[in-house]
């Protein structure tokens, strides 16, 4: 019997108040500012939104975020899944998992700085200090490449750095889900003559679907907000701009509060559907218990 009345409200009241003050109020404030001009003095209607959705810089940012969305999510989740399944079978599992999870322990800015050095460029005749160029020129005897300034490679270089940081996170969660699968099912399948591939695709994957869905949506929400890596490594130059970085620039460098707010609102609108899916999945999982 559910007890209705004031008691539940007393329990969640303080939290609701804090949420209202730190989350709801600023969101409404940002929404309000997005309709004003850069000094937040005059009403300009939808002008900021039109700029956000049509300007060349923002279109490049949207394209890049889409690239990040597809590649980053695909690689982190699939690599995490593969690692979770494979590492389960080796005796040095915990060591390997710790090493792969380690990048999550450092700040993303530090990771960005590390990768900036990895991609460092020096002219052909000078000693290479960047690991990638050292391998490229040393082993493959090719001319060094400016990975971060070359428009063909730079987005992928940044995404690679991002994948390096987040794969550990996906791997850990998927590993927990993998270990939750009853061993009898897999044994039974093997006894019935299924090969490893079939076991993976027909048994393991379907059973892990809910967790994979949650991890994927978490990664999607994450990648839409990507900022640190891009800010530290290229600052959005050479066509690597992303939405969050642009919002930061508009706000803190250009002091254009109207535009920055409109970018923030658009980002929020992009994330809300993903959040709703996430919450619904979470509720389904809870209902299953």
């Amino acid at each position: 019997m559910q007890k209705k009345g004031v008691l539940p409200w007393l329990y969640i009241g303080p939290t609701l108040l804090i949420l209202a003050f730190f989350l709801v109020y600023p969101t409404l404030g940002t929404l309000y500012l997005s309709f004003l001009d850069k000094h937040s003095k005059n009403f300009v209607g939808l002008r900021n939104y039109i700029w956000t959705l049509t300007s060349k810089d923002m279109l490049i940012a949207f394209r890049n975020n889409l690239l990040w969305l597809v590649l980053f999510t695909a690689f982190t989740v699939s690599l995490g899944l593969v690692l979770a399944v494979i590492l389960d079978r080796v005796h040095y599992e915990s060591v390997a998992k710790s090493i792969i999870f380690l990048p999550m322990a450092i700040s993303f800015v530090s990771a960005g700085v590390i990768w900036k050095f990895m991609y460092a460029y020096r002219p052909a005749n000078a000693p290479q200090i960047g690991l990638l160029n050292a391998i490229w020129t040393g082993l493959l005897n090719a001319k060094p490449i400016g990975w971060l300034v070359n428009r063909t490679t730079n987005n992928f270089a940044l995404i690679a750095a991002g994948v390096w940081i987040w794969t550990g996170f996906c791997m850990v969660i998927l590993s927990a889900a993998y270990k939750g699968i009853p061993r009898e099912l897999i044994e039974a399948a093997r006894v019935d003559g299924a090969n490893e591939w079939q076991v993976f695709w027909r048994i393991i994957l379907p059973l892990m679907k809910p967790t994979i869905a949650v991890v994927t949506t978490t990664m999607v929400i994450n990648v839409l907000k990507v900022f640190d890596i891009v800010y530290v490594m290229t600052n959005g130059n050479y066509d690597t701009e992303v939405i969050a970085n642009r919002m930061y620039k508009e706000m803190f460098h250009f002091h254009n509060f109207g535009r920055a707010s409109s970018i923030a609102v658009i980002l929020l609108l992009a994330i809300i559907p993903v959040m709703l899916v996430n919450i619904r999945r979470f509720q389904e999982q809870e209902a299953m218990r």
């Binding site: 060349k56 460092a120 460029y121 020096r122 002219p123 000078a126 490449i145 400016g146 971060l148 300034v149 070359n150 428009r151 800010y231 530290v232 600052n235 130059n237 050479y238 620039k249 803190f252 460098h253 250009f254 002091h255 254009n256």
Partner: protein, 461 residues
């Protein structure tokens, strides 16, 4: 027992406080000095001399008359030098200085002014914000209490004009940086038989000669994190001053001419002649874009030299490899004139001291900072050029700084870095990005069109 101990502790504490607060009394002490002198005759002569020796200065230390709050970007060595420069003022007047340093000065200052809690003085790294603040009415017109005749004698008119807004004087310039310098390695030049160029044509000829010799003439590095591209803006500004002259330069800064104007395009093209030429720059254009500005001059000092020239402001000496001697291992020549009718202007930066609160202490500090003394103190430590004419060139620690200071003081035309004066969306945004796109190979007209589009938005009030 416990009570006794606590009572004793309190008594001890009170005693300590009372002793510490006792005023110091000046003393005059008679000291006996024994002098032993051995002379030819084996007779020892001992002389007793009475000498009054002052242990403490008889001059009474002035009572502390409060402190002036100063907000600036300086920290570390720079701050230490500034504090030393202000120390004689505190000694003499008893007015202290409470300095607050922050790299994000614009944000902090804006917040404090809005909150109604501005510092007494602020040291702005460029005059751009001064106009904004003066417009708001936040600044004090210092001509109301400064000795204007003395100021007019000490500072050339262009310095006073640059510190004024709508006819009123709002600040004085303190620390100047000279940016129109081309650094080179004199030993490398001598070994290769190169001459220092004195005109733009000679500079281009030298560039081509070095390329023909199979070597690389220029080192340029544009990478600088979130500020990447700024060294290229300095190049273009220097060229702009020399090809279009100061009046057009000012129009360009105020967006009275568009970015697509032929004068602006011409300056970019001259820059591109060097920066976009693969053989002319160390590492090619990829090197230019990937190399950090602080790392870029290093190849000048390799053997064999990776490059021969590097155009950069005076502070770059702090990034040179250790152990180099000024004048022998590195030297500079002024960025040469291009159109002889515009001569050799100086592009530079300077710190501007402005006042928010009109208090007597702040007034005295402002008067002191405008005088030669604090300028001389820091100038002697290096890394500082004074715009004050009364500061003699002898106080500078080495010939190199002296040469730079002379260039600044004697310059007929001095202009501020344009990207510092433009609204941030252009000067710290599309201008920087535009130079990176241009060096990266983008078409110049497209680049200028993009900057112009952002400028139209940014300059709107």
């Amino acid at each position: 027992m416990k009570r006794l101990i606590s009572v004793l502790t309190i008594a001890l504490a009170i005693g300590l406080v009372v002793t510490a607060c006792a005023p110091a009394t000046p003393k005059v002490v008679k000291e006996t000095v024994v002098v032993t002198k051995v002379v030819e005759k084996p007779v020892e002569v001992t002389k007793i001399v009475e000498k009054p020796v002052e242990v403490t200065k008889v001059v009474e230390k002035p009572v502390s008359r409060g402190a002036v709050t100063v907000l600036g970007v300086w920290g570390g060595d720079e701050l230490a030098n500034f504090q030393e420069a202000v120390y004689p003022f505190t000694e003499e007047t008893g007015i202290g200085m409470a300095f607050e340093g922050t790299r994000d000065l614009a944000a902090v200052l804006t917040t404090r002014v809005e909150a109604g809690n501005p510092p007494d003085l602020a040291i702005l790294p460029n005059p751009g914000q001064m106009h904004e603040l003066a417009e708001k009415g936040a600044l004090v017109d210092i001509s109301t209490f400064m000795d204007m005749d003395q100021l007019k004698k000490d500072y050339s008119q262009s310095w006073l004009d640059l510190a004024s807004y709508k006819g009123k004087l709002y600040g004085i310039f303190y620390k100047v940086a000279n940016k129109s310098l081309v650094w080179y390695n004199p030993k490398a030049f001598k070994a290769a038989g190169y001459e220092v160029p004195t005109t733009w044509d000679e500079l281009i000829a030298l560039t081509e000669k070095i390329v023909a010799d199979g070597k690389v003439p220029w080192c340029i590095g544009l990478e600088s994190g979130a500020a990447s591209g700024w060294p290229a803006t300095d190049w273009i500004e220097d060229i702009m001053l020399r090809t279009a002259g100061p009046e057009v330069y000012d129009k360009w800064v105020n967006h009275e001419i568009p970015w697509t104007d032929p004068a602006v395009k011409h300056a970019w093209e001259l820059f591109g002649k060097i920066a976009r030429c693969e053989e002319c720059v160390y590492g090619g254009t990829t090197g230019v874009l990937s190399t950090n500005f602080g790392d870029s001059p290093a190849p000048m000092f390799d053997s064999p030299p990776g490059c021969y020239m590097h155009r950069q402001a005076s502070f770059i000496t702090g990034f040179f490899p250790e152990g180099l001697k000024a004048g022998e291992d590195y030297d500079f020549f002024p960025f040469p004139p291009i159109d002889p009718k515009y001569g050799t202007p100086v592009l530079g930066g300077a710190d501007l001291i402005v006042m928010f609160n009109d208090t007597p202490q702040a007034r005295e500090l402002m008067k002191y900072l405008a005088s030669p003394k604090p300028q001389e103190i820091w100038a002697a430590k290096g890394g500082f050029i004074s715009p004050n004419k009364r500061v003699s060139l002898d106080v500078y620690p080495d010939d190199l700084t002296r040469k730079m200071a002379k260039m600044v003081v004697e310059a007929e035309v001095f202009r501020f870095d344009a990207s510092d004066l433009m609204p941030a969306a252009v000067g710290a945004g599309s201008f920087w990005k535009g130079t990176l796109d241009y060096v990266g190979g983008k078409d110049l007209d497209a680049v200028l069109k993009d900057i112009e589009a952002s400028a139209v938005e940014a300059y709107k009030k």
